[in-house]
């Protein structure tokens, strides 16, 4: 995972830059884990703690 994308330009779509690079994805098979409770899951956008990851393509706050 490269560093968090720093908002360099106003453009919404991410274009390759120092901090946003192209990549080849290797995605392992997701294992089961104890899910969040429903209220927490809805707030975090996933029931799986391991998938509770930041979306930082074009900036965005640290929730």
């Amino acid at each position: 995972m490269n560093s968090v994308a720093v908002k360099e330009c106003e453009c919404e779509t991410a274009t390759p830059s120092k901090t946003v690079e192209l990549a080849i994805a290797t995605v392992p098979m997701q294992p089961w884990e104890q899910p969040y409770d429903p209220k927490t899951a809805l707030k975090h956008g996933t029931i799986f703690p391991s998938l509770d990851l930041p979306f930082y393509v074009t900036g965005g706050e640290q929730s």
Binding site: M29, Q30, W32, P35, P38, K39, A41, L42, T46, I47, F48
Partner: protein, 98 residues
């Protein structure tokens, strides 16, 4: 008296969980833990939807039951008549939020 807003939030929350479990089970159809979690979540969601429909308006087609819906006569044009309860409850643009 049942807190309508709170019940609706619970339905939203459990529905999200059911949906995420569904996505996981799409790719892990034999996962015992996921199957159990899905079963529990679905049971909870059905109960909450039933409670909501009994007391207020039916939220899904499956909940429509003119003879048992909307005990509190909330937001209905036909409070004391047997009617099709699908039209009960505020519409989305009237503040009704699913």
């Amino acid at each position: 008296m049942i807190d309508q807003k709170n019940l609706l939030s619970q339905i939203t929350e459990i529905s999200f969980t059911v949906n995420d479990l569904n996505l996981y089970l799409d790719t892990h159809p034999l996962d015992e833990n996921a199957l159990n979690a899905f079963k529990d979540a679905m049971t909870q969601r059905k109960q909450l939807l039933q409670t909501y429909a009994d007391n207020f308006e039916p939220l899904t087609m499956n909940c429509i039951c003119p003879d048992s819906n909307n005990k509190t006569k909330s937001h209905t044009k036909y409070p004391d008549q047997r009617h099709f309860t699908w039209s009960d409850g505020p519409l989305p643009w009237e503040g009704g939020v699913f």
